[in-house]
Symmetry: C2
Subunit: 220 residues, 2 copies
């Protein structure tokens, strides 16, 4: 425990920073530590104490920034949804045709999951749900933002005649979005869990085939 805690103090000059006390934005450090640990160990079930150790603080320090462990997990999950949203958005940035954009965003979605399996797992972990079944609003809205990338593409395609114009109706759009999302989410989960017979090199091909089928089924 002695070799930690040093570099942080040096980095800060005069404590003019807003969140700098001992640490300089411990909140962010904890989130980053959690993400790093999860991806290294290939296991998102890290302990709060471990995260604190990694960040070089006592095991109680996190409670100054998060209500409890689930609150930290929620922050990590929200960060993941934001990254996923950005991935998809930038991937389809220049694509005009809505069906091509939907295809690309679907493929990118799966790629994100396979590239960050533990983070993706955490994002959809039931551990995020409270004792009831309500997940933090933070997570829900971040997830909604990622989902709305698909939704926006479908809405755009409905206006331009690529997808059925019925998708301009709210409930029809919802079902269409749900269809696309279910497909890529299900595939991603199954792939991460290694429940397929598909060998890893063929995975990309399989995901493209699947997404292509989904796009075609919505275009009809």
């Amino acid at each position: 425990m002695l070799w930690q805690n040093n570099s942080m103090k040096i980095a800060r000059r005069k404590s003019t920073e807003p969140d700098a006390y001992h640490h300089g934005d411990l909140r962010r450090s904890l989130i980053e530590a959690a993400v790093a640990m999860a991806s290294e160990k290939q296991d998102w079930t890290f302990s709060l104490r471990e995260v604190a150790r990694r960040a070089g603080v006592s095991h109680n320090a996190p409670y100054n920034h998060f209500q409890d462990k689930r609150d930290l997990m929620a922050a990590v999950a929200a960060a993941g949804y934001n990254a996923l949203r950005d991935c998809m958005k930038s991937a389809i940035a220049g694509i005009e045709k809505a069906d091509a954009a939907l295809f690309k965003s679907g493929v990118e979605y799966v790629k994100f999951g396979l590239d960050h399996p533990t983070h993706y797992r955490l994002m959809f972990s039931s551990a995020l749900a409270a004792t009831q079944e309500v997940r933090p609003e933070q997570v829900k809205s971040a997830a909604a933002e990622a989902r709305s990338v698909l939704e926006d593409v479908l809405r755009r395609g409905a206006r331009t005649g690529v997808f059925p114009s019925s998708f301009q109706r709210k409930d029809e759009l919802m079902i269409a979005t749900l269809t696309a999302w279910s497909a890529v989410h299900g595939f991603t989960m199954i792939a991460i869990d290694d429940l397929i017979g598909v060998p890893r090199p063929l995975m990309e091909h399989a995901s493209e085939r699947l997404v292509r089928t989904v796009v075609a089924s919505l275009r009809a």
Copy 2:
């Protein structure tokens, strides 16, 4: 801890039963206790000690029947996959046309997940995977059996001309199965996690719409 442990002993007559020592098949009792607890608490992250208490034995007794906690979870998961397989099988028992059977099995799949959300969650829990990424063979094969209900229907349809004859080729059949499975699995997970905007009464309708779309996309 005193009020437990009684009824069990009375139930056994002369200890002629094969697995009966103090308990009469403690292995099965532990699995049942785990399932019951998970569904009551709406949370599959039960503790091994809690399960043991519920079964009326010491917290170490489970180690005579399971290697560790994950091994018990694997048994619970396998039981879930078997139940899911049976649900689908009996649902499509009398259905001749392959596309109708695929529709029915898909709808039944989602229904199973929504009826047993915590058990379904556990079945696909990453906690089942070992430190590496290998899940117990037991779980994999049980999952494969459930998946093969979909696969068999698709193969049958390929022979009878309902689905493309290319589905008789092994890798094409695999992708088709994966497409169907991804869709229902993804929808089920999203629904369980309450990440949809769909109000619960409309859920059944939404699931039927989704499965119908999937069947149609494979029929083409």
